[in-house]
């Protein structure tokens, strides 16, 4: 029996899909069977970021409507055989999702994989509600800025009231990833500090990912940044994936790391 993880954020553009792709690959690299499912019906992106754009034949909606079997729709990743992918439909919209069909699909995937990662759509509409409904755990992705924090707060509030696990009297575990941290901006006080974010959201910290120019290029090329061992963001995602797989990895103090090339140079002459 696997674990169903919903990756949520509330606000768009904070890096949900990037996180999903990287964590999926990271978990697979830890030799666990993992499937990433794009629940952003109508605006699918995950296929591009994983570099599986040209392999999509059947999508999630077709599987749920019985037009294709799960086995037919699942795409195996080129980079790691443990990573599988299920694409969202690009032609339909979020209203096509139905609770019992989602439940059946999630149950089927849960039985087969160690980790089922659901990439939630931005916003808090029905598409989001269906994504979180049958999740065991949620990973909340935020950027260190107020609008992202408030939207995440709202998304957590909905998770705590609408999830099936909560209705059964249990609690959904929630973990936080703070994405796109810029050490310089935190130091100068322009960016929210992680402690403040944790104070506001009151959930456990899973990891911090630094701002990295390489992420956009990696997404464009369809090679998630985690495959780049030199990248700071890639290393951060590796640590987070390892934590998800149950290893205890020390939390790196990203805010106080000297990352810039200029700083490295000035450090040499000191």
């Amino acid at each position: 029996m696997g674990i169903v993880i919903a990756v949520i954020s509330g606000k768009g553009g904070v890096g949900k899909t990037t996180a999903t792709a990287n964590l999926g690959l990271g978990i697979a690299k830890n030799s666990k069977k993992c499937i990433v499912v794009d629940f952003d019906i109508g605006q699918r992106n995950l296929d591009m970021i994983l570099g599986l754009e040209n392999r999509v034949v059947y999508d999630l909606v077709q599987v749920m409507n019985g037009e294709a079997s799960v086995r037919q729709a699942i795409i195996k990743s080129k980079t790691d055989e443990n990573l599988h992918f299920l694409a969202a439909s690009q032609t339909k919209d979020k209203t096509v999702l139905e609770s019992d069909k989602v439940k059946a699909l999630v149950a089927e995937l849960k039985a087969e994989y160690d980790f089922v990662i659901l990439d939630a759509p931005a916003g808090i509409e029905s598409g989001y509600e269906h994504t979180i409904e049958f999740a065991d755990t949620a990973i909340v992705v935020v950027n260190p800025e107020v609008s992202s924090i408030r939207d995440a707060d709202r998304a957590i509030g909905i998770l705590d009231s609408k999830s099936q696990k909560v209705k059964d009297g249990e609690e959904v575990d929630k973990f936080l990833i703070i994405n796109r941290i810029s050490a310089d901006m935190v130091k100068s006080g322009e960016m929210l500090r992680s402690e403040d974010i944790l104070d506001i959201l009151n959930i456990k910290l899973l990891g911090k990912v630094p701002e990295d120019r390489g992420v956009i290029d990696a997404s464009n090329q369809g090679k998630p940044i985690i495959t780049n061992k030199k990248s700071m963001a890639g290393q951060a995602y590796q640590r987070i994936a390892s934590r998800i797989c149950g290893n205890s990895v020390e939390m790196k103090d990203i805010e106080n790391m000297n990352s810039g090339m200029f700083k490295k140079l000035t450090g040499m002459f000191r």
Binding site: R150, G157, D160, I200
Partner: protein, 236 residues
């Protein structure tokens, strides 16, 4: 010589009706099993054997010394002006005072032999409290709207985008970043620079809330803000 001082609980009672007496002790046994029972008047053998069977300690026809009120004692000891008393002695007196206070409470208890009446009174009071005061300790996340008919004591944060409305008084012990609408007699809130606060229809300037805990009241159509707990002083 070894001295030991005890405070114990005493139940003073009389035996008017044997059946009622036994029934009373049967129902209230857990409450009085560790009390010393002082029975004024004659005790029949039946009662005696009942008490022995229940292993209740009792004494008969004794006037117990009653404790004096704390105020009288304080006056006598003149604590407020006794600077000469060294700290050990002071502690001893304080301890004694505390013990006397307990004894006083016991004496009051004795006065209320009719427990049922007292219980009814307590029930009534707690019901009154229940219907008016709501205590919450969960976080109020963005998008939640709490509407309380009565007073609210909130022991957690109010996040940005959440709203709290009360018809009664409101106390929030943690930071507020959302909005508060309070129509009660008073509000108590911490430093909350991001909060939007409306008290009895008047918007409160949250820059004035500079202390750790502030009381906001409406007197003669004017809002008064007074500190309850002052700012934390950082000695470092």
């Amino acid at each position: 010589m070894k001295n030991r001082q005890y405070s114990l609980k005493v139940l003073e009672t009389t035996v008017d009706n044997e059946e009622k007496f036994i029934e009373f002790f049967n129902t209230h046994y857990p409450l009085f099993k560790d009390h010393l029972i002082l029975i004024q008047g004659e005790i029949s053998t039946e009662i005696e054997s009942y008490l022995q069977e229940k292993k209740l300690k009792y004494i008969n026809n004794i006037t117990l010394p009653k404790g004096r009120s704390r105020k009288a004692l304080e006056e006598e000891l003149n604590l407020s002006t006794t600077n000469q008393i060294d700290s050990k002695e002071y502690d001893n007196i304080k301890k004694e005072l505390e013990e006397l206070k307990v004894e006083n409470a016991v004496n009051q208890q004795i006065a209320q032999v009719d427990m049922r009446k007292a219980q009814e009174h307590i029930d009534k009071l707690s019901k009154k409290l229940n219907s008016n005061l709501t205590v919450m300790d969960n976080m109020i996340r963005s998008g939640r709207e709490i509407d309380i008919n009565g007073d609210l004591l909130l022991l957690n944060r109010v996040n940005s985008g959440a709203t709290i409305k009360t018809t009664g008084s409101l106390i929030v012990t943690q930071v507020v970043e959302g909005s508060l609408r309070c129509d009660g007699n008073f509000m108590m809130i911490t430093v909350s620079p991001k909060a939007n606060i409306v008290f009895n229809g008047v918007e409160v300037d949250n820059k004035l809330l500079e202390n750790k805990l502030n009381r906001i009241e409406l007197r003669e159509n004017k809002i008064h803000i007074t500190p309850v707990i002052k700012k934390d002083i950082n000695w470092a």
